[in-house]
């Protein structure tokens, strides 16, 4: 039998995915900034 309601899993999983989105966007912006910096220095 399950010891925890499904909703707990769903909430935890959604929280992780939201954090993943935030981290992903931060990495995208950081690497894009590096590309822009290189282009500016060339």
């Amino acid at each position: 039998m399950t010891r925890r309601p499904f909703e707990d899993d769903l909430r935890a999983d959604r929280r992780f995915e939201r954090a993943l989105f935030v981290r992903g966007m931060a990495i995208t912006v950081a690497v894009a900034a590096l590309v822009a910096l290189r282009q500016a220095l060339l």
Partner: protein, 479 residues
Amino acid sequence: MPLLTGCYQCLLASLHWFRRPVPAAEEDTLPRIAVVVPAWNEGAVVGRTIDTLVALEYPADRLRVYVVDDASTDDTPAVVRERAERHPGRVFHLRREQGGEGKAHTINHGLRQVRREGSYEAVLVIDADVIFTERSLLRMARHLADDRVGAVSGYIKEGSRPANYLNRFVTYEYVNAQAGARRAHNVLGAQLCLPGGAELIRREALDAIGGEIDTSTLAEDTVTTLRLQLEGWKVVYEPHAIVWAEEPRDVDGLWRQRLRWARGNIQVTWRFRGIWLRRDRAGRLGSVSFALIWFSVLLMPILMLLASASLVALFVWDREFSVDVFRGLWAINVFTYLYVTLSSFSFDPAAARRSWVQGFAFPGLISLAIIAYALWPPIVDDGVAGLLEDAGVTTQGALRDTVLLFAYVWLSASMLAAWLVRRLERVRGLARLAPALVYVVGYGPLLCAIAAAAWGKQIGRTEMVWEKTEKTGAIGDVA
């Protein structure tokens, strides 16, 4: 192109949050599941697998475990019979007296028996060594509340403990290829492969493809995944359903396992040749995105050879132009490497803590040195040349040309070097050098070398052999 495709997948994976939430299934609507475990000489691991299956957080009356013993000659039958006696009505021992035909045939034997024996609404096909975490099956099964979903897979993680250097490379690889790429495929609306180690298939969906697993290729899981989707079923990946698996601990074991997978992928490409770039026939699987993702991996060795040959040809034709192209290409390499590596760490921070060194060393130390040279040429042109001149060696520009040509050739020579590492690992007394050499040559080039070998075997029509990966049961961190 493969690196840009990698970046594309990382970007898509981070958008996974925007997918429609999973239906919140009620406990009494969970499907009755028949677990089919193919086992050939798995006495060391199958007992623990059964124990974890019966202890899963899943209603006991809705889960039956069928171990298909493929004429094992070790203690597998005794181990399974003992578990069957301990869990009557929940664990069943199905014995094939004549085995050796391979995993897909063994699974099909189990599927036929299961169909005869009882009522079930979904079948879970797993490997004999995988360890499901407590709520992983619940997380997978809840997707079946959506009537359109035909199959679900979980996140298979490398679980060998103690983990050696190669296990840690595989850990990082799986973070990238599963936690990352399969999330991206969810966002694109289809999956290229649900791994056979943890594949939950709805009964009607399995019936729609004939009720059995493909036996004509070495990639039966990919064939099942593609056929289900071509029949109109949705196939999804559940990244929070964690399943631990034991992976090879040496280069030779990895080579044999991956050669089978790579040959299977080549066979699948040919068999499903009518779906690529054909949205009218294959829906989302026929999109440009999936063609790019599939072929950038499949053709990687050929692309590396072409890149090397083109740069060397350019060098002969116009040396300075070749330098510009080289710097441009490797600049793209730097940024894609950074983006893919950092993104992969974010997909699974726990795995990243264990394998961050292998993540950074994935392309190999030589490739990293080339990246550094491409970014900052004075390292060699002034630094190394200066040191040599201080030592009385006059290079007169020859050093620069030598380094340039080496960098151009390394793209493809790294595959040859990886092949040599495998040979060296078999030589008595030199095997201990293999780990250091994998770091130097790179795990990525090692995978490319295996893909190249698969092409060679497939073109040469070498006989297909199902080489089983040896498992010892050394899986830990099950949490």
